[in-house]
Each structure stands twice: as C-alpha cells, then as structure tokens.
Subunit: 95 residues, 2 copies
Amino acid sequence: MIRLSVLYPVTEGATFDHDYYREKHVPLAVRTWGLDGAEIDKGVDGPYVAAVHFKFASPEALQAAMGAEGTADVLADVAAYTSIAPVLQTSEVVD
Amino acid sequence: MIRLSVLYPVTEGATFDHDYYREKHVPLAVRTWGLDGAEIDKGVDGPYVAAVHFKFASPEALQAAMGAEGTADVLADVAAYTSIAPVLQTSEVVD
C-alpha cells in the first residue's frame, strides 16, 4: 500500500479554507481517483496547517491517478482554498 | 480524534533503521501509550525518510501519553535507530 500525504506548511500571510477542503476539494480528488476515502488533518500544533492522506494499492495505481484525465482539475482547484504550495510525500505503508 | 505524526526529514549523512523502527520502537511506543496500533511509513519520495502516525482519542489523551512514566524510555530509544531529529505534527482528524 502506498500513502500519498499532501502537507500544507504554515505560511505567514496565507489562509486555508478547511471547510472547502473537507467538503469540496478532497471529495473531488477521491472521486477523480476512484478511492474509498481519505484522511484529512486540521493542524493543531506543528509545521503544517492541514494535510490529507490518500492510500493507493500500488505505486502504479498512484502513477495512474497522477496521469488521469481529471487530475488537472483537482490541481486547479487548489487555488479555491489556499495559496500555500503543498509538500508531497509518497511512502510505503509498512505492515 | 487526534493524530500525532512523527516525521523524519531526509538528512545528509544520517541513517534510519527501518527494521528496528517497525519491530522494536513503534511497538514500544504503542505499548507504552496503550494504543491499538500505529501506521508506519517508509519514505519513497519526498522530504521524509520515515514517519509514524498515532491516533489518540482526545487532546487530553495525547497529553497524558506525553507525560506517562514510560515516555522517557520511548524517547531515549530513538538513538537506537537514527540520529535524525523528528518533526512533530499534531492534528485533529477531520470527519
């Protein structure tokens, strides 16, 4: 299993619309990539104001999602909730 | 639900013993804090070489774990698998 974590660094002067993120953006990504769901974080303490964790069955499934037709729309939608440039982390979930 | 993510930045010249982390360290933390489990990440691409995600029922439960008797032993054990100083992120898991 592969985890894609998208992490939004706390950034001076930037805002983050947590409601839009939960209600619109992450569901759009989940639909686009045909996932069962995702886990959303609202930062309490630490370097990130928000994050989401998606799970893919394999590196190939992640790669296919990144190249999928709707992915450009998912990325274009980021501007609707924040100006923060996210940090991407891909990891193997250890059993 | 509160997530505590412990993230180990890729660090020039530092090593990380993933086997020890999975087999010894994270189980010690889980036992010490009375958790059901944890999710371990082995970095594939991005700024972190490894990570773990613990879930706590509440901010108070996290605070109690940090102050628990065995927590000093958990922290002292970090030296057994890496010299990397981890980044701590506390978040509210959004429903």
